[in-house]
Amino acid sequence: MVAAVNRMAQGMVLVLLGAAALGCTLASDLYLNYVQGAFRPFLAAAGAVLALLGAARVAAELRRTLRPPAEDGTAEAVAQGGDGGEAHGDPHDHAHGAPRVAWLLLLPAIFVFVVSPPPLGAFTAETGQRAEPPAEAAAGPAAAALEPLPEADGPVAIELKDFLMRAWLADPGLEGREVQLTGFVTESDEGGWYLTRLEMNCCAADAIVNQVVVSGAEAPPTDSWVSVVGTWVPPQGDTSEQVPTPELAALTVIGLDAPPDPYE
């Protein structure tokens, strides 16, 4: 049997979990791979609470163990009583240790520190939930909600999801404008290649895949980040049956470092 989580271990599990939450919010931008930027203070606060709670438990256990028996005759008896309860008692006795499942709280900490999972990328773009054009009933209000593109002499930088919505509504103010889109490269089976950006509303589990077909430029390496300036290509032929993925004719493609916040 795996040992029940004794009190010292309880404290340390909480400290490590708290350290993981604090480490990925305060010491780095790692948390942006997993949750919204606005989530940072809450995650850091939760990490601090966990770390303090765990540290208090560890300190209490250390005091109990280290107290020299000579000074206080009862201390050793107390300590041994506590340990004895762990070793010989009913493993389901929750009065002393936490259940074994509490060991699993180490897993998120191990994953944050050891694996430090990267942002979702090309794999999710292929298997994940793709953004879809609005239903016809919703298209009217969605079009009304769109602001006109800002006036500018050069290209206008917009989000991929914004570009997709304008392209789907076919009254997008995209005609004749140069737009700049930023995302990562994935392979396409529709000709050209996809510029992809994942949209995240709360955490990476709810990521939605936004994709644009880029034509007129060589495909950069898959999963590399690029910024593409180009113009919208209106869809050809009958689109009532199947709406094609909106297309961007590239003018320039510039390679980039992955941004700290990979989602939009």
């Binding site: 049997m1 795996v2 004794n6 271990a9 340390m12 599990v13 909480l14 490590l16 979990l17 939450a21 791979n33 997993y34 949750v35 809450f42 995650l43 609470v49 966990l50 709670l53 250390l62 340990d83 929750h94 009065a95 002393h96 936490a98 259940p99 499942v101 509490a102 060991w103 699993l104 709280l105 180490l106 998120p108 900490a109 994953f111 944050v112 520190f113 050891v114 694996v115 999972p117 990267p118 942002p119 979702l120 990328g121 999710t124 298997t127 994940g128 939930q129 793709r130 953004a131 879809e132 009933a137 009217g140 969605a142 909600a145 949209e199 509303n201 709360c202 955490c203 589990a205 709810d206």
Partner: protein, 355 residues
């Protein structure tokens, strides 16, 4: 050092994979021969965690070259995302539950909550509209309420309604469906109906012995703050461990279920409702974000989208694991299927009526 790492990995495997493996005292770190006398369990625990800390510190540079499979990394990202996303809500819910235990006397609850289930249940359902958290927060709070003597029927109604109809969730739904304000109303009505129906069902048929709340540690001496701290720690370890189980399952299914399957069933109205109900259970998306995912499922009818929104905050893998840890297995095998059925039925009916 290598010795620590190897021994530690052995521990990790036996923790997660094989509950029946033996983990005799001899396997603990460091081996007996290192010390003059047999060390106390506390000392051994300190050594174990020192080894874990070393692993955490050097593990990334040692292992990151090996951990490159895209599917594994996507799984790991989603697993960590679910855990970190839930953590603040869990801590908040556990703190609130501990505060209910430590600072609100039991006699207050007896006066505040109506004694008759017929009255207490709807009141509890509406009270869910004020807790601005997601489902991870409401489970420990409901556990704290039951411990404080609140009728389980009322506490369970609160458990179901709080994550589904709180203001943050309703605003998020309105933002995700900008042109369908009736979706917000339908979500509110259907979710409240399910919560109240399940509460009344529990009041009529529920049995106390199905509920197994883990015993809280008994705090001797110490003031209210000692009680607060001890119950918070206890609930975090209980519920948190199960939350990780739910996160593991949800991340696995999130990566493993290809979304192409969904478009295939979207055509059939009945299959579509069932498919999105099951998807809500499997994906375990936080109730504050599920509306955005539902809105992206445009191939599905609004009724199916509504069912997704009603089922998700009440029954999902993460939540089932969390409830099993808080209320016991006998409870969850009855509660989860009943809630699922009620949520599908209410979502379909209200959707047919309002959407």
């Amino acid at each position: 050092m290598p010795r620590f790492a190897v021994s530690y990995r052995g521990c990790a495997v036996s923790t997660t994979d094989d509950r029946h493996s033996t983990w005799a005292d001899d396997d603990l770190i460091p081996p007996d021969e290192w010390g003059r006398r047999r060390q106390s369990e506390t000392t051994r625990t300190v050594w174990l965690f020192a080894a874990i800390a070393v692993l955490l510190a050097v593990g990334h540079s040692l292992l990151s070259g090996w951990l490159t499979a895209p599917a594994f990394l996507a799984w790991a990202t989603i697993f960590v995302a679910i855990c970190l996303q839930a953590l603040p809500f869990l801590v908040f819910g556990v703190a609130l539950s501990a505060a209910l235990t430590a600072f609100v006397p039991a006699s207050w609850w007896a006066r505040a909550v109506p004694r008759r289930a017929g009255l207490a249940v709807p009141v509890a359902g509406l009270a869910g509209a004020v807790l601005p958290g997601c489902e991870c927060a409401s489970v420990p709070v409901a556990g704290g309420l039951i411990r404080r003597g609140v009728a389980p029927a009322a506490a369970l109604t609160f458990l179901l309604s709080a994550p589904a109809i709180n203001p943050i969730v309703l605003v998020a739904t309105a933002v995700a469906f900008p042109d369908q304000p009736e979706m917000v109303l339908a979500r509110f009505v259907a979710s409240l109906a399910v919560a109240v129906a399940i509460g009344l069902l529990w009041a009529r048929f529920g049995r106390a012995e199905w509920l197994r709340l883990p015993r809280r540690p008994h705090v001797e001496g110490g003031g209210r703050w000692a009680v607060f701290r001890a119950s918070m720690e206890h609930d975090l370890l209980h519920a948190g461990g199960f939350l990780v189980v739910g996160g593991l399952a949800a991340a696995t299914l999130n990566v493993a279920v290809p979304r192409d399957w969904l478009t295939a069933v979207a055509e059939n109205p009945w299959l579509a409702v069932l498919a999105l109900a099951v998807l809500a259970v499997l994906l375990s998306i936080c109730s504050e974000a599920d509306a955005f995912v539902a809105a992206s499922l445009t191939a599905f009818s609004p009724v199916a989208q509504l069912v997704f929104l009603v089922v998700g905050p009440m029954v999902d893998l993460k939540l089932i694991a969390l409830q099993a840890g808080t209320f016991g297995r006998a409870f969850v095998v009855r509660f989860a299927p009943a809630t699922f059925a009620a949520a599908v039925a209410a979502g379909a009916l209200v959707g047919w009526w309002l959407l």
